[in-house]
Structure formats: structure tokens, C-alpha cells
Symmetry: C2
Subunit: 492 residues, 2 copies
């Protein structure tokens, strides 16, 4: 299998696009801006789903399902939210096709089947869900509602890229309702922490937790919490957001509850989501010029075994040894594949599994059988070792844990060396150009300055880090007072 | 909790509608024909999904994801399929809203954002998937493709009912591609058997396997295999279908492969699906006038424990005993809930969990503590027993298995007594009116007769049973020759 992969140094963007397709993660479809998620890519997404779903349930959430469509009048009820998504809505206007009299055998939209009210294909589900919550909440006893939905959403983006920005994408969206502001704020913070935990400990992607500026906030939210990751080209990627919605949607959809004292009050809300965009973050955090690098926790195949042989007899003897090994590995819940295809040479197989990011490759030939060894190769470091067959399953199990840990550490190391404090706008621009990454700078807190900096540098404020030190300073752009540094970066 | 459930005898249809809502399975939404699947209903659907997904993977299938939208020109490529779904398509024509100058704060469809080509919201995904397969298949080595998708689909039905017929529903759709006709036929038959196995052994719903007549066949298929269940009102419900597509979609989308001999041939296809409609089948097969009856395999809560007490001290002692019991039950993977709400009386709780179909209820009061017993009630038979606490976890585990088995047997018994052989059209009508169920009759094999019978009786041919006996006979309607009986029924 010739990889012919553009290198990251040559063209990072092209490298990404090629890799996603060549590693069988996804491809563009015949529908503008919509992708096909291929089985190998979908298997990775399923692992993310399973882990997130477990984490959501552990924190008391239940899944449900709400309609794909939102009638226009319902959609526009929360004005800021509606305005925020209005420019990228797919709109259903008709409900029937009919035979086209001018083109035998072909169809046309039936003009007599126009909907009385247009339906918006959900870009996000606050409207439809809060219109439902109205019927579910009467008293404080009905609260909190802690609900999550796994769904597809559509945002009619003009410039799309596989996983990173597609017209349709898959995601989960949590929507919760609470009796008090404190509880709702706690919920939105809790889910940001859940996302950070997931990104770091399951995807091996280090993230910075923070809050968004008003400009970058979710349309209709009072506060947006986020986790921000850093890609290998020095650009940031928003990996998950959690919104404190205040009483905005409760007011727009008239969702009130009777308190224990019998008073009528509006409900407090949150929403939070991560999407198939995480697949893009995964690719761009760990992979290299040889192809994908997958953390063991997300790898559909964790260990691939390739036999090296010349004769049928050798293959039979190897297969016997491999059978013992696979049984031992599967007992440890390790996903193993024995690649005994006779149609491909070992070199082809090595290249293919490197491209697909299988964390550990085991090769075994007649010499290994004689010596009672296996050759074990790590995908992340591209290093090899000869390991005795005795206790090798424990060795592999430990190695997978070690790879998971080291991938995170490597990404963390990169991220940490790419957060640069600057104290002037010249320095700001120089760092952004030369090195990229997060630029930590004082900012005067105005949207106007934020916008000017964006116009001049393409960098946006990714977040006000949760752990920032409150310190007096001067805005790098205007020199006005600042109470602490924020993180700027160019972003996906 | 007052149930106030209409009884089945009073009005079966009303009983169903009320039960689905009152048991918190689903409700109608603010979007015409679309339902909200509530957490309790969704938890049951998740159990179905998990088991089906396991069965699909075990039979070699992988999941993937294809776009929600199908461009019109792609949709109409396979003419029969397009024609079959044309009358119930939701159609996206625009991609942007704008401020409505006549209604401040409100939005309107932007007439300048009309799509060049309309997009059909998938009613089924053969078109988009086969247009993708064209790029995936070059040689016989690329076959078979064994792919499944979990997705939402939209069919603009005019008369909708929760789960049974909704404008949007959730389903899985398998789409496979094969090198030979034999292999494709085997695949479609295999998946029918998988569905039957799932329905009978997991949902405790007996089904009849068969093939559809040409009239009832999936649009674009050469053969449709189905499983047919019988509801308590004597109406049939199609619970799953598996289609042999021949080379129809391969030809429409030009999907060819090079054989081992280097010849170019069209690929053979299948597709197969089950949907949230199964939730309707579940409700209507097992439930009674007290509410839902859930087979243990599908129950989100398998055992509920209700404390009976007057004093706080009693509650504390009961809770202690319950804790021991729940730990023991959970060790056996049994889903237990301890309903220790202080806001509701035991009678209310009993009624609520009966309504929600929890298979086993355990009640425990001070007397039980003294005697070292628990009161165990079965939801399906509404019978109670006092059981010693020693080894009760094994007793419960066995009881759950027994309930699962007996629910199937009860449904099978009902079904078997509702398949009636008739030999004249008078008898046909009489049986259909008096008793309903499947009417087994000779039919002359013509669509014309099928339609006339439908017009006169509302009964359709549900299937030609796979296990029917080939026997010469005369059509009950025309007296023409017949080679075997088929099953008629009124159907959902």
C-alpha cells in the first residue's frame, strides 16, 4: 500500500484532508458539504459515544429523542438564538414530489404540496426541546430535567471540511432545566469538566478550560464554557462547549414552575455538546506523516499481528503461535486482528496499519518461532523491540497503557510550549506568525478591540482561562486597563 | 397515581394512545406527525439497539453514516424506488432565513437562498448509499460490503400514530453489496432470521416469517422478506423487512466490479431495516389494562423495591435490608430501583410501576423484616408471593427468566389460536369480523384479486409464509387455481 501522503511540513491542510480519506475515516458525499463517515471512522466515533454516554449517565443524565424539524415560529421564539443560526438553516418547504410532465420518469417538487409553515432542520435543539419542557415542568418536584440527545444537526456552512465543518454532523446535545441559577451554573461547569476529562483521559488531547467572550458566546446563552485544544499546526480547536442559558429559553417558551412556597418562577437552563468535530481534533493532535496515530482507548484495532513466511508450513506454525497469543490478548479485552491475508505482502500490510494508526503491530516469522519471540512495533514512536512470548500479553497490555499516557504527555508538552505571554502588539503578531499557538495577552475587555485584533491577525479570543491569574495590566492593542490575560489564537 | 387508563375492550386504539403517553414512552410534539421519545421510552429503544447492534456485528456487519439529504437527481435515479416514496418526501428548497421586514424580530425564508437542486430528506437511504458504493467497489476483492446505519428518516405520512406511523422515525438500515445473486439472497434471508430471532427471543414477540406479494414489496426490490406479528386486537404488524434488491440499484448507480476472471459485472444488493415501530409492537403484544408489561430483557428497571413503613425507624431498618438485597441483585446484572420517595404512598408507587411495566415488584414492611421475607409481585400475572430472603436473588433471577419465557408463550398461544384456515370468501369475512387475526386462504396469485379483497375487507396479504405447505387449491375469491395458502389480515 503506497501511502503517498503529503507531509505536514509540505502542506498541513492537505495532509489532513488526504489522511482522513486515505485512512478510511470519511469522505465527501454527492451532497454538498455532507460527509460519509466510513466504517473505520465510525468505529472510532462509536467508542467516543460509548464513553461519553457512560459519563453522562454516571452524572445522572438520561437520553431522549426530539424531532429533527423545528417549525419557523417555534424556531424564532428565542430571538438571539434564532438570529445566530438564521443564516445557515436548511429549510423544508414542501412535502411531496410528483411526476415531471416535461421529463418522463423524472420527478419535480409538487407546487400543491407546500407546507403551511416552513420547517427548519435543527441546527441545535433548544427551541424544540424547551417547547417540550413546557409540558414537563409544573412544580419544583419535576426538576431538574437532565436530558441528553444523540442526533444529527444541519448548519448550512459555505466552506466545509471533513469532520471540522460539515453541513450535517453528528453530535450529542445535553439540555437541562433547574430550579435555581446556582444549580444551572454548576451543571454547565460540571459538563465542561466532564468534557475535559473525556478529552484528556480518553482521547489523550490536553485542553484548556475557560469561558468565551460575549462575541464568541453561543447565541442565546448567558455564559459559554469551553475546552480548547491545540493542533500541531499551532491552530486552536474548540473541542466542546457548555452553556449556561439563564432563563432565556424558559422565558421564550414560558417554562415556569411552582416553588416549594407556591411561587411561579422561570426555570434555569443549560445546554452542552460535542460533535464529530472531535474526530478532526483526534487526527490533528496525534497523527504524523506516516498516517493516523490512535490512542489505544479509541483504536478499533489495538494490536495487529502480521505473519512473515515463505512456505505454507511456516504459515501454519505461525498461525498456531498467533492463536495462543490472540486468545491471551482477548482475555485482557484487547482488540486484536490477525492479518493473514494471502493477497498482500508484509510490507504492504505494515504500511496500511501504520496509515490506519493501529497502536501496536506484532510481526512473527520462522526465526521468532525458533527463539520464542515476537517483534513488537509501536505506531506512535515507530520503534521496534523483540519480546519473549512468555508473559507477552501483560507486556502488551502495559505497553498500550504506556502509549496512551505518552501520547497525552507529548501533546501536553507541545501545547505547553505553545502558550506564549506577550506584552505588546508587535510581539503578539510576531509570536502568532513565527510560532502560532495560544498567545496570552492582556485585553481591554471590549468587543471592538477583539474585532480589530481579529481583522488584523485572524486571531480570536479562544477563552478566558478558568485558572488565569487576576493581575492588572494594559491591553496589548489599546493600552487600556485589563484585569488578566486571555488566550488568543488562530482557530479551526 | 390514578391510571384512568381506557381498557382494551372499551377502545383498543384509545388504550394504546393513552398508554404510550401515560407510561412516559413518547408524546406528540409541536411538529406535525413527529414524536418526542421520552427518557423511559428511549431507554427501552436503547436496549433494542444494543442487542440488534450486537447481532449485526456478530454476523459481520459494520456501522457507518451517510448523509441525511439526497439530491433530487440522485433520488430519482432508481425509478421504482423514487416513485414509491415520492408522495411522502420532505423537501429542502432553501438554506437561509432573513429578517422579515414586516414583522420586527421575526424571520422569513430568504428568497435569494434557493438551492440549485432540491434536497430530499431521506425516506430510506438506498440512493445515497449506492451512489457512494460506486466509489467503493472496483473488484470482487472489495465485496461483500456489509454495512448498517442507525439513523432518522422522514416519510410525510398524513395520518400518524405514536411509534406506529410517524413523519420522522428512528431505525437501522442495513445495505449490503455482493458479487453473486446467491450470496445476496442468502444475506436477505439471513437478516430476516436475525430479526425473527430478535423479536422472539429478546422482545418475546412471536412472528411469522414470509415473503411479500409484489403489491406489498419494497419499491425497488425483487423480493421482500418480512416478519409479521399479531397484536391483541387481531391486527397484524409488520415488524421488520429484508429486501433482495437484485441488481436494480447497481444498475441505477452504475456499481460494477471486476470478477476474478476480469469480467465487469453489476453488484447484487440487499437492504433491511427495523424501526421504532417495534416499540408499538412491544406495547400492543404484552400490555394490559393496568398498563405496560415489559419483558425483562427490555425493562429499564427489572425489579422495583417499595418500602412499607409508618415510622422513620422502620424505614431505616427496611433500607438496611434492601441495601443487602440490591447489592445481591446487581451482582447478577439485574437492574433494580429502590423507590424510597417520601412524597408518595405505597399504593401510588404500586400503580405507577404497574403502569410502567416493571416485571417484578418487591414490597417490604416491618412484618417482613420480622419474618425474614419479602413480598414478590409479578407484573405480567399480577400475582404475589411471600419469599424468604435467603437465596431470594436466585429466586428473582430465575423468575425474570421465567417471565420472559411465559410472555412469549402467552403471545404465541394467542397468535396460534388466531391463524384460521378458511375455504370460502363468506368464511373469510366472517372470521375476519368475528375474530380477526391471520386468515389463511388460497389466493389466485393476482394483484387484482388482492386489491379487490382489500377493498371489500381491508385485509391485505401479510405474507406468503416461508413454511407453507404447497398444496393445490382454489382462490377463496375467484375460485382460480392456487398453489398454497397465504396469510391475510387487517394490519397496522
Amino acid at each position: 500500500m503506497g501511502k503517498n501522503l503529503t507531509t505536514r511540513a509540505e502542506d498541513y491542510s492537505k495532509w489532513y484532508n488526504e489522511l482522513v480519506v486515505k485512512a478510511d475515516l470519511a469522505e465527501n458525499s454527492g451532497v454538498r458539504g455532507c460527509m460519509v463517515i466510513k466504517p473505520y471512522g465510525y468505529a472510532i466515533w462509536e467508542k467516543m459515544q460509548a464513553e461519553l454516554d457512560r459519563m453522562f449517565k454516571e452524572t445522572g443524565h438520561q437520553n431522549a429523542y426530539f424531532p429533527l424539524f423545528v417549525p419557523k415560529s417555534m424556531f424564532e421564539a428565542e430571538e438571539k438564538n434564532a438570529e445566530g443560526f438564521a443564516k445557515e438553516c436548511a429549510i423544508v418547504t414542501h412535502y411531496r414530489l410528483k411526476n415531471d410532465p416535461d421529463r418522463p420518469g423524472k420527478l419535480m417538487v409538487d407546487p400543491n404540496a407546500k407546507l403551511e409553515e416552513e420547517l427548519i432542520v435543527r441546527p441545535t435543539s433548544e427551541a424544540i426541546i424547551w417547547s417540550t419542557y413546557k409540558g414537563w415542568v409544573q412544580s419544583y418536584r419535576d426538576l431538574p430535567l437532565l436530558i441528553n440527545q444523540w442526533a444529527n444537526v444541519v448548519r448550512w456552512e459555505m466552506r466545509t471540511r471533513l469532520f471540522l465543518r460539515t453541513a450535517e454532523f453528528l453530535w450529542q446535545e445535553g439540555h437541562t432545566a433547574h430550579a435555581t441559577k446556582t444549580e444551572a451554573v454548576e451543571e454547565s461547569e460540571k459538563m465542561m469538566h466532564v468534557y475535559a476529562d473525556f478529552a484528556e483521559n480518553f482521547m489523550a488531547i490536553p485542553v484548556i478550560k475557560g469561558i468565551k467572550t460575549e462575541t464568541e458566546r453561543f447565541a442565546g446563552a448567558e455564559e459559554t464554557y469551553c475546552i480548547e485544544a491545540l493542533m500541531q499546526d499551532g491552530k486552536a480547536l474548540q473541542a466542546g462547549t457548555s452553556h449556561f442559558l439563564g432563563q432565556n429559553f424558559a422565558k421564550a417558551f414560558d417554562v415556569k414552575f411552582a416553588t416549594a412556597e407556591g411561587k411561579q418562577e422561570y426555570v434555569w437552563g443549560t445546554s452542552w455538546g460535542v460533535s464529530t468535530r472531535l474526530m478532526g481534533a483526534l487526527v490533528m493532535t496525534h497523527s504524523d506523516d506516516q498516517g493516523l496515530v490512535l490512542p489505544p482507548s479509541l483504536a478499533p484495532i489495538q494490536v495487529v499481528i502480521v505473519p512473515i513466511y515463505k512456505t505454507e508450513e511456516q504459515l501454519a506454525a505461525i498461525t498456531e503461535a498467533v492463536t495462543v497469543l490472540t486468545v491471551a490478548l482477548r482475555k485482557l479485552q484487547i482488540a486484536v486482528k490477525y492479518d493473514n491475508r494471502t493477497t498482500q505482502k508484509p510490507g504492504f500490510k505494515f504500511a496500511e496499519w501504520e496509515l490506519k494508526g493501529v497502536p501496536v503491530r506484532i510481526a512473527v516469522g520462522p526465526k521468532d518461532l525458533e527463539n520464542g519471540t515476537f517483534e513488537v512495533a509501536r505506531r506512535d514512536t515507530l520503534t521496534k523491540e523483540v519480546v519473549s512470548k512468555d508473559g507477552i500479553e501483560t507486556y502488551i497490555n502495559d505497553l498500550l497503557a504506556q502509549i496512551q499516557k505518552e501520547l497525552f504527555e507529548k501533546a501536553l508538552q507541545y501545547r505547553n510550549t505553545h502558550v506564549t505571554e506577550v506584552n505588546s502588539f508587535e510581539e503578539f503578531k510576531a509570536v502568532l506568525d513565527a510560532k502560532g499557538g495560544f498567545v496570552s495577552a492582556h485585553w481591554d475587555g471590549t468587543a471592538a478591540t477583539e474585532e480589530k485584533i481579529k481583522d488584523l491577525t485572524k486571531a480570536t479570543i479562544r477563552c478566558i482561562p478558568l485558572d488565569r491569574i487576576e493581575e492588572a495590566g494594559s491591553c496589548v492593542f489599546t493600552g487600556e486597563n485589563s484585569v488578566g490575560r486571555v488566550l488568543f489564537a488562530k482557530a479551526y
